[in-house]
């Protein structure tokens, strides 16, 4: 079906909202409360547009596109309305991009930039940080919260952990954990879905604070090393230090749809651990390990295993391959055991 957006005819799919059709055609409409996964909320009203034949401004995230619909998202009338929404949000929170972790990846910043807002028009005198860092991996600064409700939808409808909700009323409204407990003392399992979906810098990965700006990281997609679900990860890598700074779930991955668990998202310290093995080790006669070269270590292995194979028979040797290694490495391992050591004694811990 076709709709007219800002005088241009664009293609829209059946069941798409005006916002989705615009996005798929490369036209930006500011949104804050809407996320593909949590669906239309119709709350923040940053995405309002004019629709011919409909009275007043419409939230484009919740109105379905209809064939022949005529929509305007760039009239002064629309932009003024969007501006007011974003201006008020900027004014009622402590949105200081200079020091904010979300700088460069913030939906509010992006909307303000698009609408040409430098600073909020109104400033509260008493705006102070309101940080809860009682949790190991996730931090919330309520002074940056825009009450869009994405984290609540994420917690209750996406990962269904049912921890987050709105507490208090009206101007006092804030995100609470369980019965308004500190995050670290609540039933939160720290899956991090809320931080993944927070459009601003209110809920963030605590351990990435101060480790670099969004645009400084290389993003590498790979697969989680823990359980067998095969969640797709986006590693944020700092090339200067050769280290992983944070991990996000890949939203369009069919296995996990952006979701991760506390291990997959935060349990990556082992990669950069200083306890990693960095050189081959050989145990001397006194039972102590000493460092060895690859040449020496592999020579010794070939000599010892050849001797055992030829003296006691190949079936006195066992190879244990790994459910944590790749397909390619499992393949080369069993090929080595079967061809060079002449035994089919290959197994792994599928049973354990």
């Amino acid at each position: 079906m076709k709709i007219t957006l800002n005088g241009k005819i664009i293609e829209a799919k059946q069941g798409q909202t005006i916002f989705q059709a615009a996005r798929d055609n490369g036209i930006y409409i500011p949104t804050l409360c809407y996320h593909e996964k949590t669906g239309p909320a119709g709350k923040c009203r940053a995405c309002v547009v004019e629709v011919e034949g409909m009275r007043g401004l419409q939230t484009s995230c919740s109105v379905l596109a209809k064939d022949g619909m005529v929509v305007t998202s760039n009239s002064e009338n629309v932009l003024d309305a969007q501006r007011l929404v974003v201006d008020l949000l900027l004014s009622t929170g402590r949105h200081n991009c200079l020091s904010c972790e979300k700088n460069g990846n913030c939906d509010l910043q992006k909307a303000a930039y698009y609408l040409g807002i430098e600073v909020g028009s109104f400033q509260y005198a008493d705006m102070k940080p309101d940080i809860d860092d009682s949790s190991e991996f996730i931090q919330i600064d309520r002074s940056k919260c825009i009450s869009c409700g994405r984290c609540i939808a994420a917690c209750n409808n996406v990962v269904v952990n049912n921890v987050l909700n709105f507490g208090y009323r009206g101007h006092e409204t804030q995100i609470v954990f369980d019965t308004n407990l500190p995050m670290g003392g609540s039933s939160c399992v720290q899956c991090g879905e809320c931080s993944q979906l927070c459009p601003v810098g209110a809920i963030i990965d605590k351990r990435a604070v101060g480790k670099g700006r969004e645009w400084e990281f290389d993003k590498v997609e790979t697969i989680c090393p823990y359980c067998g679900v095969g969640c797709n990860l986006e590693l944020n890598v700092d090339r200067k230090t050769n280290s992983i700074v944070k991990i996000r779930g890949v939203e369009d991955a069919p296995t996990n749809e952006g979701m991760l668990c506390v291990k997959g998202r935060y349990g990556f310290d082992f990669v950069g651990s200083d306890e990693r093995l960095t050189t081959p080790l050989i145990k001397d006669a006194d039972g102590e390990f000493r460092e060895a070269s690859w040449e020496e270590a592999t020579d010794l292995i070939v000599e010892k295993l050849s001797f055992i194979r030829d003296t006691y028979g190949p079936d006195t040797i066992m190879g244990l391959t790994s459910a944590k290694a790749t397909n390619e490495e499992n393949y080369t391992f069993q090929k080595l055991i079967r061809t060079a050591l002449k035994t089919n004694n290959v197994d792994h811990c599928a049973r354990l």
Binding site: F270, Y331, F333, N345, A350
Partner: protein, 538 residues
């Protein structure tokens, strides 16, 4: 896996993860899904939340998923066959079985019917402790479902009756015609990132890649030619048997890549003696693990973030890994190490990257033949079997026909676990995973935050805690016939009286000091889920 292979002709998860949206009932038995497979748990909870799915949970422990269940039942540990036979008997007695499916696609129904006939709700209650009325309710809900999915994990397999348990899950799904359809299936959730791939790529003693049987002359000739090497015709032995043989002095050398049996295996004292008996031990790993410390030579390998390659997930989806950071020091990719050794053994291996190896894998693994890195990237993975480059992959197995032709139902009699509580050891011990840690802890325990939220502990029922006179977080001593550990007790209503749960991740309080190394006679899997123990205040 042996159980599913016998029933269907293929031993993998039959359906895909996304299929949960098509199920109207799901049964979780022997999987603490939200702890061990949290993202799959989330998708099941989503479906319950959206009202498209009714959930049945059967587990001795009142797991979190039970909070989302329409029906929850707590069975006595080790009585899964009786539970499933009881449900099937109800379904057959009330004519709820899928008669057309049974007639067209299944053999062995009459034998099954005869065996389960004695499992009346009352008899089932007597064995399992699940009220007869609950068995009836489960039978009613499950039997009337249009499409029902069955999920299990190690809670079904880690028993001396593991293969029997698996066969029973297959029986139930065939009985209700839940096979070969979206949203149905027997879905064993695999516990490690590439356990499916390790099986597919012949990390098993009795098969070549793609489950081509060792001992078949034609396959033997083909593989000798393919690898340009003389091969042993005799199938190998499984790991658990190899440890027993090492204990008896019959094994001389182990080469262990990325495994830590000194934490993960049953009856650790036995394992330690077995390893000490070896003439030569090579360990290839990322850390100096408990097992690596016992090695003669240790080789430094790479983590997932340092390499390209593929993992095959629980739903048989092959996905591509990309290198993100450099490995430290002289650490190498495992395949580079294997190539170095192969060359020194006189074999001319010349792989220059992981993709080279994958191209070779395709040529000797029929179910992977149609996959290329390019296709895998484009589709974000493909499900095997994918035999040709124009094949879309197979999210649902056994559509229209089972891999082996007709599916086989097995009459499975109930057997008690190898070790039952008695006067001296009156408590059931069961072991497993928790959300915040992974397997032997080699990876997860290097993150302090994870240790801060989850350290060594045991889950103890309120009743047992009262009897012992202990409060929450007090230490208890747990003793089995194999040994003792001391750990912190978390007193919880989630545990039934007379059963304690100990996670196996912690070297400070290793659960596997206590576990029984009695094996399933076919799958050779140890009975981690049931042992007898006693508790004392420590």
């Amino acid at each position: 896996m042996a159980g599913l292979a016998a029933a269907f002709g293929s031993g993998a998860m039959t359906n895909d993860i996304a299929g949960i949206k098509k199920s109207d009932v799901a049964l979780i038995i022997g999987s603490d899904t939200s702890e061990a497979h949290p993202v799959i748990a989330a998708r099941i909870k989503q479906a319950v939340n959206e009202g498209t799915l009714k959930l049945i949970v059967i587990d001795p422990k009142h797991i979190k998923m039970a909070d989302f269940a329409t029906i929850y039942a707590s069975q006595r540990p080790g009585t899964d066959v009786a539970v499933l036979n009881g449900i099937m008997n109800y379904i057959i007695q009330h004519g709820l079985e899928d008669k057309d499916f049974i007639k067209e696609r299944v053999e062995g129904f009459e034998e099954l019917k005869k065996e389960v006939a004695k499992f009346t709700p009352e008899y089932t209650e007597k064995i399992t402790g699940i009220p007869a009325k609950t068995i009836e309710e489960i039978g009613e809900l499950y039997g009337n479902a249009k499409v029902a999915a069955l999920y299990y994990a190690m809670g079904i397999t880690q028993h001396t009756t593991g293969v029997d348990n698996v066969k029973s899950t297959a029986n139930l799904q065939m009985l209700c015609g839940n096979m070969g359809v979206e949203g149905g299936g027997v879905n064993p959730l695999r516990g490690q990132s590439n356990v499916q791939g390790a099986c597919d790529l012949a990390g098993l003693p009795n098969v070549y890649c793609g489950y081509q049987k060792i001992g078949v002359e034609e396959i033997h000739v083909k593989m000798e030619k393919f690898w340009q090497a003389e091969l042993n015709k005799k199938p190998g032995i499984p790991m658990t048997v190899a440890f027993d043989k090492a204990y008896d002095g019959e094994m001389k050398a182990f080469y262990i890549m990325g495994e830590n049996p000194m934490i993960s295996d049953p009856d650790l004292n036995h394992i330690e003696k077995a390893i000490k008996n070896l003439d030569f031990l090579v360990v290839e790993d990322i850390f100096l693990t408990e097992t690596a410390k016992m090695a003669d030579v240790v080789l430094p390998a790479s983590t997932y973030a340092e390499k390209d390659g593929t993992f095959t997930n629980t739903e048989r989806r092959v996905q591509v890994l990309h290198k993100a950071v450099d490995a430290p020091g002289q650490a190498k990719h495992d395949w580079e190490i294997h190539q170095m050794l192969a060359k020194k053994f006189g074999y001319d291996w010349n792989y220059s990257c992981a993709e080279d190896i994958f191209e070779e894998i395709r040529r000797c693994t029929p179910s992977y033949a149609g996959m290329t890195y390019k296709r895998l990237e484009k589709n974000r993975g493909l499900h095997w079997p994918c035999p040709t480059e124009d094949h879309p992959g197979t999210p649902v197995l056994h559509v229209g026909k089972f891999a082996k032709g007709k599916g086989t139902m097995f009459a499975v009699p109930f057997k008690e676990p190898a070790e039952l509580p008695d006067k001296e050891y009156p408590i059931y011990l069961t072991t497993g995973r928790i959300l915040q840690q992974f397997h032997t802890g080699t990876m997860s325990r290097k993150t302090d935050g994870l240790n801060n939220i989850a350290g060594p502990h045991a889950l103890v029922s309120v009743e047992d805690a009262e009897e012992l006179g202990i409060g929450n977080s007090e230490n208890i001593k747990i003793t089995s016939r194999r040994g003792s550990i001391v750990t912190k007790a978390i007193v919880t209503k989630r545990m039934p009286k007379g059963t304690i749960f100990v996670p196996f991740h912690f070297h400070e309080a290793p659960a596997n000091i206590l576990t029984n190394n009695a094996l399933d006679p076919i799958a050779k899997i140890p009975e981690y889920k049931v042992a007898a123990c006693k508790l004392e205040k420590a």
